[in-house]
Structure formats: structure tokens, C-alpha cells
Amino acid sequence: MSMEMPKTPMLDQLESGPWPSFVSGLKRLAQSEDKSYAPMMKDLLGQLERSYQTRKGYWKGGTIGVVGYGAGVIPRFSELKDEFPASAEFHTLRIMPPAGMHYTAEILSQLCDIWEKYGSGLIALHGQSGDIMFQGIRSENVQPCFDEMNELGFDLGGAGAGVRTSISCVGAARCEHSCFDEARAMRMLVNAFLDEMHRPSLPYKFKFKVSGCANDCANAIQRSDFAVIGTWRDEIQADQDEIRRIVARRGRKWLIDQVITLCPSHALSLNDDDSLDIANHDCVRCMHCINVLTKALSPGRVRGATVLIGGKRTLKIGDLMGSVVAPFLRLESDEDYEALLDLARRVMDFFIDNALEHERTGEMIERIGLVNFLEGIGLEVDPNMIRHPRTNSYVRTDGWDEEAAKWKARHGAAE
């Protein structure tokens, strides 16, 4: 016996307008009378409409998992279960997509098939951390649903105090700015810490994010504990003939206004022969000129990545951005990638040993100081780690000579 569709006068107002309507989608599911999830989605609509009217949420957490894992399912129990019993349980399965979020129509359809069998038919592509979120499943269906997806090659993502699902930008797959193999780096990092993801026991959550260049399409610096950002050490590759063609087409003023004066480090100038004068020594690898003149300029040949640690949102000392701890790691050979992973391992170990409960890496560094953190993970200080040296004389410098000697030793030695 099919339930009636709930009255949703407020939600209905979200069906008009040019943007695709999630309400229409929810209604489609609720009206799929041939599907097991139709009642659930009717009640879900009912509860959501109630939220719109009362401006209150009605979900509570709880504990739900799959065998062998301690995280990856977000449990949701309704406070209005008496009124909306069919959606009394509405858990989410966080499933990690292929790096870069590439799909075949076929694999997506297969995932839909499984989800229609066990869940609500509602899928978020994707969550802000990068998971496919299969939203709306009853407790008893969680395990079989996961098992089928797992058989298809998918695994649960992170939740709780563990390693979280990661994002790498599209990068090498379709972007000329890519400075290394982002998908490889991201998979290597996350897949090395699956234990910390699936059986979370870190002080608090830990996120990796990977962007192939300073454009940071993965929002890594501000939204991850361990940000890997592509860059290069040598000179920008420039096709000066192409520059001249661009100047001929768009004019010198265009080039000056859109490129030269926007260089943050004043590293650019236009030569009289309409070629571009690049002071690579001054360049901060910001990507702007390369973005605008993508056909003429590219990152250098000696490519790799910068690692920044400690980005996160507000809790509890205010937003923190990651800050540079490894200015340049070459990323070419297998060993190079191993070295990146090794760094991640050291960071993770230090985090586990030193962070307080519910303390993110950024907060830990704020508490103990960057230098102590660097010493803990075995990295040397470098001027690229700071915006500027200290402005405050409150420091005990009696180890100066030793520290200076270290720098000189490192600095004399080849890179």
C-alpha cells in the first residue's frame, strides 16, 4: 500500500528556477512506488519540510559500522521517528571515488544499482572532502551494501579521528600545469594509511590534499593537514615566439595590464622586442603568468612539490592555513615518491605521539612551535618556510654558532 506524498509547500518553492532542483530529485525518489526506498523518501521529505518550517534539524548521531572498520559510515537517527518512521534511520556511506573523480558511465550505473537495492537512491557527488556520499540507508542494509560496493573495487572513506578521504586535482589527467603525478601521490599517501583511516585512533582527523600547482584547485593549503602543491625549481619554460604572437594579437598594453603588473614579485618585464623578460630568481612560482599565457609559458623542467602542514577550519583557535615545511621535494623517480611518503609517515608518527586529544596538526604546531615540529620530523629550517624572520627579540640565541654552522654545512653541500 503506497503512502501519500507529504505536503511540502516550502520545499516546493525550490522546484522553480533554472538550477537543477534537489527537491524534484527527492520527489522522484519518493514517487518511485516500485522501489523499496519510496516510503523512506516520502518521510524524509516530510521531515525536511518540517525543518524548513521550524528552522530546526532533527537528526542525531549514533554508532554504525561495517565489520572490520571503525569509521566510514555516518549514522543518522531521526528525532521525529514516530512521525516519520520510514526515514527514522538515514545513514550515509562515505565511499572513496577513483582519484580525480573519473568514472565510466558503467561503473556509476553499477553503483546506482547497488544503492537502489539497499539505500535511498540519493547520492552526493561529492562531499567536500571528496567522498561519494550514499545518503540514506537503514542499519541492517549497511553491511550488505558496503560488501557489494567493496566487491566492485570501492572502499569506505574516513570519518572520526582518523585519516580522511582525500582529493587530488585533475592535474596530469587534463591539465598542462601539473607538476607531478597527483593521482599517484594522493593514492600512495592515503593507501599507506588505510589502517589509520579505517580504524581511527589518531588524536583527531588528518587530511591529505594534493594539487598539481600553486593554483591549488584542491584547496589543499587551507583545507588539509598535509598539503602537497606542485612547483618547480628551475626556470619557467618560455616560448618567446608565442609571446610575440600574443603581443601582436592583443597589444602590449594588454600584456602589461594582465600579466606584467600582476606579477606579485615584480619578476616580469616586457622587452623592446616584445619578448618577455622573466627574472626567474625573483619569481615566486605563483602561476599567474603561466595561467594567462598558457600557450607560451610552462612550469620549469625540474618539477616536484612543496609540502605544507596544518591547514584546517575554525575549531578551536581560529582558522589555520598550512605552512611550508618542505619547500621542494623532487617528484620524478619512484624514490622521490617514496621520500614523500616517508615524510608523511614521520609527520603522522609525530602527530600521534604529540598532539593532544582533539587537536589538529595546525593547532599542535601552533602550540609547540614550528621549529620543534621540524626537529621532531627531522627537517631543517629554510627561509622559504617563513614570510619574514622574527620581529621579536624575545628569544634565547645561545646556540647561534652551532645553528649557523649547520646552515653553512648544508649550504656548502650540493642541493
Binding site: 516550502m10 518553492q13 525550490l14 522553480s16 528556477g17 533554472p18 538550477w19 537543477p20 532542483s21 534537489f22 530529485g25 522522484r28 525518489l29 524524509l44 525536511l48 525543518s51 530546526k56 534539524g57 537528526w59 565489520v67 538515514f90 577513483p98 580525480g100 573523480m101 573519473h102 568514472y103 565510466t104 558511465a105 556509476l108 546506482c112 537512491g121 547520492i123 552526493a124 557527488l125 567536500q128 571528496g130 545518503q135 572502499d155 596530469a172 591539465c175 598542462e176 594522493m186 593507501n191 588505510l194 600553486a214 591549488d216 593549503i221 587551507q222 583545507r223 595590464d257 594582465q258 606579485p264 605563483c286 602561476m287 599567474h288 575549531l315 578551536k316 583557535i317 581560529g318 582558522d319
Partner: protein, 356 residues
Amino acid sequence: MAPPRRPVESGVPDPMPFMHPLLRKNYGTWRWHERPRPGVLRHVAASGDEVWTVKAGTQRQLDVYTVRALCAIATDLADGHLRFTTRSNVEFMVGAAERVDPLIARLEAEGFPVGGTGNSVSMISHTQGWLHCDIPGTDASGVVKALMDAVHHEFTHEEMPNKVKITTSCCQINCGGQGDIAINIQHTKPPKINHDLVAGVCERPAVVARCPVAAIRPAMVNGKPSLEVDEAKCVCCGACYPPCPPMQINDPVHSKLAIWVGGKHSSTRSKPTFHKLVAAGIPNNPPRWPEATEIVLTILDAYKSGAKPWERVGEWVERIGWARFFEETGLPFTKYHVDNWRGSRGSLNSSAHLHF
């Protein structure tokens, strides 16, 4: 009974089997790209191969019908492949120029707006809201839908000075992250404590530790262990609510929206920046949040007409100065704009640089 199935801890899947063959073939060897029109990218590889990407918006919270519709489009017109951006836009790749228009036509016919590339307003960072989260002060899907309706033209056109990345968050935790423009919940009253429940569900020391301003202390209320909030100290952040649901921070009237501008993740030109508060006290007004929408449109208008090419929202304001930002948008400037959090002295004007 059979032993339970052990998971295969396969981790992040290898994308290669799912990647469009042209992307796979030219992996790591792309040379340059251009945008022939809004919603379309043309990437050229060192091999000479070209790939045309058509990008379209989705509602993110997708019903299987919509997912299958996208799959069908991929199958029919894009070699069976598709990918998503974190902003929940979908991308279809094809190897030839003439295959672009049919894709656009089909997407538009099925209601997917084509755009979101280059200097457009892309899809808004989407969070959970009343649909799924256990702590939201507002909805996410509805806010996103209302706003995307309002900026639809800016999604399908590239008329902005630079990319505009909008974010929303349904509580002050801010899963939506920093944005050129961010529309976030901002509570205005301390939590109301349901003292009867505290003892049963809250680990009191953990809750006390969670408060950023140490405003919570354990207390006995009606003879039961509960908590007490020093309302003079409380900054109404809601951080105590997730670990202790009886500390009701959400309120249909007093949980307001605030709008922030100038967040930037990229290190392009300027360094990454946090977004800054520009408007608060905005009613949390479902189903279409007209007051918030109007402010967002006002800011977008001012940005569109005032910024120079490539200036992101924050870079534009930085150049014209905050005095003028408030003047041009007509938004009031109040004492709440003056940061008073730890380390905020750096946000004061310690110079004779002045905008009149």
C-alpha cells in the same frame, strides 16, 4: 553461521580504468588550453591530441535518476566517460570540436546548465544542512539552490573579473571552507541548556575542553550534574553543541546568517587569504533566503563592475580598500567587523594608509 566477510582494504581506486582514453593516453603531457565558450575547455596535448571538455552544473544531492541521466549522456555522446569536480560540476570529454554542440544541447535540454568555467561563478560548495547533518542551523541544499538560481546567468557566462568561488556552511564549523563569498550560519545567543539531559549524554570534561573561550563550567543544576555557560564570555560559536546536544545553540530566530568575502585558496598572484566578515544578522529565511541572496548579488555586482581583470574578490577589495567596499555595497560597518580574536592586532590599520 558463516564468518562475516572481511573488507578488502583497497583504498582509493586507481582512476586509470575509468579515465577517458584521451586523458589516459596524454596523461602528464598536456600543453595548453583555451576556453572557446563558457562551459567548454579545449586542452591540447604534446601529441597534438585535443580534448574538449563540456562542463555542467548539478544539484550535487543527486537522485539515481539524475545520475543515470548523466551516465546516459556520457554513453551517448562522450565515449562513456565523465568526471566530477569537487564543486559537483560534471565534465564530459570528447576528442573533436564537432562533438561539443550536441553535448551542450543535450545537457541543456535535460536541465543541466552548461558553464562554471573560467571567470564565471561556479557551483557553490555544498554541505549537508537539515537533510543530513546532526548540528545544522540551516539547510545547505536549499541555500545552494536559491543562490544558484539567482546567479544562474553568472554560471553560464564568463563575465566576472576572475573565478568566483562561493561557499556556504550550515553551522560555524564551516565544512564549506573559505570562499570569495561565504554565506555561513552565525549564532547570536549562547546555547540554551537542557539540564535534564546533560548528565545522560554529555561527557562533561570533554565539552568544557571544547569551548574556545573557556565559558563552560561543570555545575549542579536541580541536584543533577550539568553545565553552566558564562554568557558574558560565550562567543556563541556552537562548538559545544556537537559533543553535547543538550547545549542547544540552534535557534529559529537567533541563528542568523553572516556573509564573508575575500577568502582565497590559490597562491596565484596573492597568497591565500581567509575570508572576512562583511554582513551579519541576516535572517535565516527558508525556503529562499531572499535577504542573504540580495546581499550576495550586491557584492557580485560591485565586484563585477569594479574589479580589474584577474582580481579575485579579495584582491579587488584589497586594492579599493575596505572603506570603499562598504561604501559601494551600502553595507553597514560596525564594531563587530573589528577583529578581537587572538593575534588580531595585525588586522588593525597601523599606518597612514587611508581611503577617503
